[in-house]
Subunit: 98 residues, 10 copies
């Protein structure tokens, strides 16, 4: 099942050193690569001008999706909105399978 | 350039016969198939419970995108929000090209 | 998979006779009973003071849920928001199964 | 009387040790189990991607509900919206009692 | 149980004669008087500049409240928000009863 | 003149000891009792699940109301929305005086 | 007592002839002049680009204000928000009177 | 003085023939060209996917701007938001004049 | 040119001594008096229950207005919304000048 | 491709010395000048009363725009909304090129 996931990152000022912040982002990038390799993150788009993104995620259901999202290194610093999606009969990628 | 496009359909009650409405949807489905074949609509997801969708569209720029959207058979009846996207370094589909 | 579904009904004034409206509601009540018997609608709560409700729906995924919602007799007159839910470790009904 | 309760958790960064936070969640989980056993929390759903949930709570009235909510270990850190519900004639669980 | 009820009236233009509208309001005023006499509407305040009001309603629970609201002559034309209230320890009217 | 007053309390974490917070609330409760005795606070309802309330206040005008509100012990920690009210012809408490 | 009053005008298309609309506006302008002469409307500002305005109104209280607003020729076609105001100690017009 | 002006066009369905609508747009385009030639409309951007635009308008003040906007052929069908702008010290076009 | 200016004051807790806060307000009151004497602030209304106000300001244009607002002693602590106003033909104070 | 960019600046109180803040703004002003010289920032307007602006930016696409925005000295302190724009047939600056 595919989900559109809208994520906004907000690390509060004054609590972490730049090295700590860099490490959070490095771990997140590494974890993102693994999730991409595993086919769980299928697409990721930056929202221009923001520390934010839209992603296309694949998971068995919302429970599995939550397990993955809540284990992200950046999880304590993100605000996430999960948008459920249903198959669209005109979706180019799936329409000929039905 | 890729755009996320959020579309809500609203055909007002009482102005069109069911046959007219069916024809609008049939033409739209046909046009959607052409845009999918042309690689302009790359993905389309239904928002469950609504006559609405999110789509991933490819166009040279916002001007070309508008030209295509405003020529849709369903255009007089839709409310559209275009969300611009920038490349994300962790996007699985594009990360190894850079 | 369980979904919370928020539905607002709005039948425009002046387009339907009272008999037509009564028939829509009668068909909807009948269909609602079938969906309840089938375990698809598990709970339904009226939002006081409104032609609106929250429901707890069970479906294989959002695609199946959309198919069911879009076939409701009242579908042309409702505004629907689907809220995806993940399992909660403290949910009394499911916690001891895991 | 049943209430839908929407809860968002927000423990501010930088004020508590991880051990303190873990203890808050442990106490909350324990209290949640007691409330589930007592039939006060009837259902609990995680909002995917968030430290947030929807719950179905049973209480004599809003006053009793407030007493229970405001005594939760997590109460100082939550933002709560209580949605009152009325019986719906098509609710599968209650329709045949009337 | 007391509820604060926020009501906005909207009778669409062009569908009813002035006599019909006057009759709706007359019936509503009469019904309002009965509900006041019965202690169900305890207070009613006009929102200045609008066909709208806040009311303090007393009902056994939200189900009874909905039954009363949905039977109002003006019900087809109102948008209602029910705000549940819990007893406040400093409420002058109830504090000495506890 | 009566006003509906919606108040949300927010004492920031980490700046005050529990004893200081308790003292603020104790002073507020004492002041609330005085205002109730004086007929200035006529009713007070807790918003369930929140440190928040709706109140029915009586004051000569908005200037006097502001003077009273801004002198509350809890004033530095509250967000207040004042809703002006006009007499409603169907208000049970005032309708027979006119 | 002074009130800031925000008014948006919306006369629906297709129900009135231009002559009828012109007459509504003419009556409203005439009534506005009377209210200005009476010192009830003290100031009136157009919101640029809209059939809308902010006004500074003087009335004994919200009840009197509502009586005047609801008798305006344009009343059936306006959406009104009344903003109560309290005296400000630095208001140039009133500060030296206190 | 420069203003950013956000305009959304909404011609209701079912009230005008296509010829009438075409004529409104033709007159508007002609008037837009005149305003561009006069230096009043300095820039105009389409909001993609919508009958809407942002414009950069020059006028002596908001009063003159309103006079121009409210005389547009399309004025009965638009929703306009005027955003006032102040000179920015880093604006490339004006920074060296100061 | 007149502007309606909506200002909300928010001095964060825990960063300033009461003496420092008092000094900010004292300077602001003094500056407000000067601006009132100069005819720049023409009216000022407190929003009841809040550290907030609406003001009627006179300035040559938005650039001059910004210069004055951004030099206020309280400027680092305020959230400001400037509402541009156009002359209204029924404004009692200006209608006879035109 | 042109973008309208809405930027709100928010440097939290209590974390930086005035000298540090001044340095951020000085660097930003310098960088803004460079971007103006390079034709990337084409226009910049202050939102009156706020540390905020609207800008007209030119970039190859949203990816390039994000790269530039995220490298601004002020980037850690801004909230940015990018509004995509399409060519408008009545835009005075581009209409005669087509």
């Amino acid at each position: 099942m595919e989900f559109l996931v809208h994520t906004e990152v907000n690390i509060p000022h004054g609590l972490y050193t730049q090295a700590e912040i860099d490490e959070i982002y490095a771990k997140e990038a590494e974890r993102g690569r693994e999730l991409g390799d595993a086919g769980i993150i299928k697409r990721l788009w930056r929202i221009p001008g923001r520390r934010a993104n839209y992603g296309l995620w694949e998971a068995a259901d919302a429970t599995e999706l939550h397990k993955i999202l809540s284990a992200l290194p950046i999880y304590p610093f993100i605000d996430v909105e999960v948008i459920p999606t249903a198959a669209h009969p005109s979706d180019p990628q799936t329409r000929d399978r039905a």
